[in-house]
């Protein structure tokens, strides 16, 4: 065996694609390498069988094939014509009387307006996502009042709001979290 196996050059060698130098190098290698010789023979057999596979493909009905091709071609031409027409109309529509023959200016002005609106909206949404100082204080107040209610939640959950308004009113007089200190509705 001589040098690296020229695996990817074996088929080009068999097909006579290689330059004289490359061909000589592969030939020398093949003389001393039984593995590559065997590989080249097997590849050659596969290549000739493959040629038969392709020959074995049966032709379609060519008249039908050509009729189908003509239909597709007509459809393609119609579609291309309609696309061209749509573009022509779009170009005409863009030539508004206010902007005269300057559709690009109209598009540019519209883009600037959209951008300005987007910036304003983005700033607005940024404020709402971060609460101000007043909002935070209000939230803290609510939280501290809610703690008493939560401590006596086991009482609250048994009350009918309309019928036990007195109990609710004096809820803060109950011991925090003591189940024996509450009145249960009858």
């Amino acid at each position: 065996m001589a040098g690296i196996h020229p695996e990817t050059e074996l088929i080009p060698y068999l097909r006579g694609e290689l330059s004289a130098d490359e061909r000589a190098r592969v030939a020398t290698h093949l003389e001393g390498c039984a593995q590559c010789r065997q590989s080249a023979e097997a590849s050659s057999a596969i290549l000739s069988s493959l040629a038969r596979v392709v020959e074995g493909v049966r032709d379609p009905d060519w008249a039908e094939y050509r009729a189908g091709l003509k239909r597709k071609l007509r459809a393609s031409e119609t579609s291309s014509a309609s696309v061209r027409e749509r573009w022509r109309r779009m170009r005409e529509d863009l030539r508004l009387p206010v902007f005269g023959g300057w559709p690009s200016m109209a598009i540019g002005a519209a883009a600037v307006a959209v951008l300005a609106i987007a910036i304003v909206m983005h700033r607005g949404s940024g404020n709402s996502s971060a609460p101000g100082v007043d909002q935070l204080e209000l939230q803290q107040d609510l939280s501290s009042t809610d703690v008493g209610l939560l401590a006596n939640y086991h009482v609250v959950e048994h009350l009918d709001l309309l019928e036990n308004y007195d109990v609710i009113e004096h809820l803060d007089e109950l011991g925090p979290g003591n189940p024996q200190n509450h009145e249960t509705p009858s």
Binding site: T8, L50, G56, V57, R66
Partner: protein
């Protein structure tokens, strides 16, 4: 004197219908057979090869003549075949390529008769019937590379032009494709 493919292509770019007809006459058989071998399905081969001719008609003006017309045209065809296979990959997994004879509505695969005796013919048919499903297991690039070489006689450089890769990569596609076919056939 018959006009060359390149001349016809220039006429097609100028919307010469007769030139297009002549071009289709010349290439329809080879285009259909190549598509059929790559796709393994006659109906798909018909559609895709017709689409390739439509693309040829639409983009003939873009053929710059730097490569052979056949290389340019088969690039369109092979790309369409590969795209078609990619789009239908999920479907192919559910319904693998039908073997010849599975569908009575489709024409049965029929290798051409050879001059060899009936015994050799049977062996050849057997070998081909094993190759066909093995071909379907190659990657689209490998299959296209192998078939462009065996069917169209393309060189590695031309295969590289069709597949948008270097000559060395085209050689690797062919080598790996043939090696894979050998392995698959040996397994059976």
């Amino acid at each position: 004197v018959e006009p060359s493919d390149e001349d016809l292509c220039r006429k097609i770019a100028a919307r010469d219908g007769a030139a297009f007809e002549l071009m289709v006459d010349r290439h329809q058989g080879r285009a259909y057979r190549l598509a059929s071998s790559i796709l393994g399905n006659e109906a798909d081969a018909r559609d895709v090869s017709q689409d390739a001719f439509i693309r040829l008609y639409e983009s003939a003006g873009r053929f710059d003549g730097r490569s052979r017309f056949s290389t340019w045209f088969y690039r369109i065809l092979v790309n369409l075949c590969i795209d078609h296979q990619r789009k239908n990959r999920w479907w192919k997994r559910l319904a693998p390529l039908a073997s010849p004879g599975d569908n009575p509505d489709e024409r049965a695969f029929d290798p051409p008769s050879t001059e060899a005796g009936p015994e050799d013919d049977a062996m050849l048919k057997q070998s081909i019937s094993r190759l066909r499903p093995a071909l379907a297991k190659l990657s689209p690039q490998q299959r296209a590379a192998v078939l462009l070489q065996t069917q169209e006689g393309f060189t590695s450089r031309e295969i590289g032009e069709v597949l948008h890769c270097s000559e060395a990569t085209a050689r690797v596609h062919v080598h790996r494709g043939i090696a894979q076919l050998r392995k698959l056939i040996a397994k059976e």
